[in-house]
Symmetry: C2
DNA sequence: GTAATGGGTTGACTCAGGTCAAACGACAGT
DNA sequence: ACTGTCGTTTGACCTGAGTCAACCCATTAC
């Protein structure tokens, strides 16, 4: 069953698998979530002129990998990604899940090499934004500069949230926080707050939340027994949003 | 006993407790670690003109608190800080420890309100950098813009490191990573890599590393038994840096 | 001096989440 | 329809870190 999608209008990957499409912020329905937020028509055209490429990434493919030279940041036009870092010994930590309208690649600015891998969890499209040209343009357009800084700062704040989650929440709290976060982000994109498909495996959820896949599975089952959610494979229906919020609010002992 | 200090030249807090001092990057010995990195003399003077205030913060005082309007970012001139977020129920998570040459307040850019508390762990001095004026100036000075972006990105990468630590490392690995990180940062500031004073309590270390204070204490004791370090209250001597590195490298089972 | 206070250490016990193993279900390829 | 693969669920058991409690050691207040 397809996800309750609004923007998904069949993108027919089979026909033109690696096509390069002209990108244009000005007629992108994500512009209010993405980089161009707040720009005038004129300014948006200037941003358009810089974002020349939109590319398709197939499910399972990497957008970039650890160690690759940094050149672009990427705006997700459609689809779903994870970022992860892997330690020498094979363990890996998912550091985030990204969806349409969000930016990828900010980690690379620091050393001009990417410090994590970005993997498409479904067939996706991304706009390539040449970073150094973005810097130039944001020296000219104050609104763009400000918004870019806010996006970077928001990422820092988000990371602090994950640290809080990993540092001091129990299983139930982590899962509840995770589901509520997804719900809220789907909502912001015009999807249902209560019903969606997970794009990631239990193992990936576990890696993100610092748990083992079995623990994630058990938590889902428990939430289902308690009538908070209905899970069927990757399809999730949240039945009791306040109930999930309460799990996070109440100090559990 | 005083910390093995180089820059510490008695700052005599008692005499002028809240004095406001003229700040000047151009003759600051931290300029190569801090925001002005790579600026020409001329550019540095322009940055100076914007950083008008240097303030003393006493041990235990807050530089800023959650919810306060965001106006400045702060460069630590001397001293030591922690940032933390606290949940409604009283639990709190230390999100970082900051030392001389590092910037504080980047979290506030996103919503124009601070999202964490910044607390001095020892008597400290910070330079106030009016953020919106910094933005203006970085529209004019490309080097400054670039470096500021790198600093923000570095913070994101650092946070990913903490997520890795919290998500998949065991006690020994966390403590080893923590000590090596401090050692390396002290080294970058011209202090001994092997001998320093912790500025934070066991509880604060624990909060940062997602552990309880007893667990931190036990790990220190165990490392001491194994001859890796010598601990005496807050004074740490690292006896075997490769040994600590090995703890992180080897998959422990 | 003595007392009070705030870390820090150590031991005994508990339990949340990890580990290991088996079975199941969905889907893709033949 | 059959098979293989990959993800998911569930159970039984184990263990690493948390909890609780006692005690110690430094520092500061009186």
């Amino acid at each position: 069953m397809p996800p309750p999608s609004k923007a998904a209008k069949d993108t027919s990957f089979k026909e033109t698998p690696f096509a390069v499409i002209k990108a244009a912020c000005s007629n992108c329905n994500l512009r209010e979530l993405c980089l161009p937020l707040g720009l005038s028509d004129d300014e948006m055209t200037r941003l358009d002129s810089l974002i020349s490429v939109r590319k398709r990434i197939k499910r399972g493919d990497c957008l970039y990998r650890v160690g690759e030279p940094f050149e672009y940041i990427y705006a997700i036009r459609s689809g779903f990604f994870k970022t992860d870092v892997l330690l020498e010994d094979g363990r890996d930590q998912v550091t985030g899940f990204q969806m349409a309208g969000e930016l990828l690649g900010l980690d690379g600015i620091s050393t001009e090499r990417h410090t994590c891998n970005s993997v498409a969890l479904e067939d996706s499209e991304v706009c390539h934004i040449p970073f150094f040209r973005l810097e130039s343009l944001s020296r000219e357009i104050q609104t763009l500069q400000r918004h870019f800084h806010k996006i970077m700062s928001r990422e820092i704040v988000r990371d602090h949230g994950v640290m809080t989650l990993l540092g001091m929440m129990c299983v139930e709290e982590r899962i509840a926080a995770f589901l509520l976060n997804l719900s809220q982000r789907f909502t912001a994109r015009g999807f249902s707050p209560a019903e969606f498909n997970l794009r990631m495996t239990r193992e990936e959820i576990g890696s993100y939340l610092g748990l083992k896949l079995e623990t994630v599975s058990r938590a889902f089952s428990r939430f289902q027994e308690e009538g908070l959610i209905a899970v069927q494979q990757r399809h999730i229906r949240i039945l009791d949003i306040p109930g999930l919020q309460q799990i996070m609010a109440k100090r559990n002992h």
